[in-house]
Amino acid sequence: MTSNAVVFALTALLMPAASFLIIGALPPLRRAGRVAAWFSSGCALVALVAAVLGWRAFAAAGTAEPMRAVWWWLPSVRGPLATVGVLVDAQSTTMLLLVTLVALLVQVYSTCYLSDEPAPSLGRYYALQSLFAFSMMGVVLAPNLLQLFVCWELVGVCSCLLIGYWYRKPEAARAALKAFWITKAGDVGLLIGIVLLHRLTGTFDLVELRHLAETSQIPLAGLSIITFCIYLGAMGKSAQFPLHVWLPDAMEGPTPVSALIHAATMVTAGVYLLTRTEWLFALTPQVLAIVCWNGAFTALLAAVLACVQTDIKRVLAYSTVSQLGYMMAAIGAGFAGAGFLHLLTHGIFKALLFLGAGAVIHAVGSNDVADMGGLARRMPQTAIVFLIGTLSLAGVPLFAGFASKEEVLGSVLHGGFPIPFVMLLAAAFLTAFYMFRVVFLAFFGGEGYDGGGGYEGARAQDSHDTAHHGHGVGSLAHAHDAPFIMTGPLWILAIIAMIIGVSFLVTPPHAEFESPGWLTPAAVVVALSGILLAWLTYQRRTISADALARAFAPIRRAALARFWLDDLYLALYRSVLLVFSRAVGWTDRYLVDGVLNVISAWTLDGGDRLRRMQTGKVQDYVWAVGFGLLVLMAWIGVAW
């Protein structure tokens, strides 16, 4: 029996798919641009309504049992090898809400943000947006690992195409390919993991697998390799060290795309995958420990990197990497619920921050905080919502990120990982610091930041999507709040973030563990001290930014060089991959092709020689016939 919740989930899943197909298949609609935009947004709205109804229907059903509707996909003798369909449970309906909400708001926002774009490319943008939303929902609702993997790859393709939306810009094209290949490196691991798991258990189905795992029918031998392979896939998508390098570069795409990638689709897929398969990971504690340690390390590393960036989008990108580290650390500590909660709240406020940054970039025409300053007076609405997002990210009470971040910290401590806990606490301090550095530099203080000494290094690497807006640097005096169609989504997200924050204060989320009493004050003190340091440095200027930079000179230099990870990858690419490719190319050209060429040359040569036998003269053939006849007769005679 298919219940209402399943029908609603299916509707939500198929709306963006229909939108993509219709926009893709009807060139006049696609070339019309604006019409395609509103059509796609309309479909996203229907999907959101369906997701809300589906969520309510599932909650009303009052059952923890997952509901599903599946169809055969790869039939084989012993039942279907794979199915497609939807799996509706508490996790997937909640995640579906987030995905559809952010997708809708981003699409509406983009109609204004990208209003200067030519109509045909706007149509392409919206077709891809719809496909992106569909594939992410496919991951969210997947009832088995095979459908999950297919949609997972679709997510990767869509993100590549949208990051490279301005594909004529070489940096954007390169960033798109980088995002695709680095996540692809992780996806190979995921595919291997899924296939190995099928070999071990004979099923792709998540419900069956969960049943097997919970009744401990899965052989433990070799399971660590499988879970580690699955973690590799999540590592690539969710930008965990050392595969995080694609995410900052992905900032080359339009800002709404960054909002979508960071908040609802793409990077959340990895965390969601681990949340979905937590019962499998629970069987392999050693892999979980890796997940936790690496998550905490990523969180700290990205926080340090974010401190030296001057590009507002790059600061946000590194903050995402850092927050993903938090989620992974919580999952690694064995409390996937805490990670999932942080994923949801982070999705809301990160979408808010990115769209707010987009409004600033739209108004100022530059990504660089040095070109901003005093924007709070000129763009009061944007400043308020950005501040709400920042407070949420910093983990200040009353705001969305506070409760979930505390949950994550508590779970890591409770899971028995004190050192990662300290790393995460340090990252929380840095998070508050770097976010408020951006706020003070961009929204408060004088117009035009005086440089503070030595940030040019990062500036030089950064590129700006200035050219795509008609404003240009230096239009600070004319900066103003964006029209309602852009501020509307910002306010919606800000209000949701506030509601979540306040409601968590009233009714704390149901915790799976008991945190020590000192944790909440500690988290608040850490966040507030980060804000205080940023205030003293960038607002009051009682602490010189130069002195701070000098004090941490070695770390700063390393962070400006992104800890040489990109250089390492480049060197590896040049010294290993290119040499290997050349060797393979040589083998193919001279060994494989060589053998074939020799054989074909021999054949041609032999044919050339044989054809000399033929004179074309009738008499010669008569000779041959006569001689042949004689031989035949002689043969017959001997036989007798």
């Binding site: 054809r611 033929q614 004179t615 074309g616 003269k617 009738v618 008499q619 053939y621 008569v622 000779w623 006569g626």
Partner: protein, 99 residues
Amino acid sequence: MGLQAYLTLAAVVFCIGLFGTVTRRNTIGILLGIELMLNAVNINLVAFSRFRGDDTGMVFTLFAICITVAEVALGLAIVILLFRTRRSASADHIDWLRG
């Protein structure tokens, strides 16, 4: 004279015809050689028919002679056409069978 003598004669005529066909450079000579070979076969047929007292061989021979006439007419026509297009009736110049 026994059957042996007729068969020997036919074999000799056949060999002369074959030799002519293979060695003559003139296409008309080749046609003549073919005629000789055919007639050698006819001799065989008639000889067997006479010695076995079966008339079928005679009838068959008459039939073969008729066919031969038609064949010679066709062959001569081909030779004339060859001569017209090539200005020569020498077999050495005809090597169109070579691809």
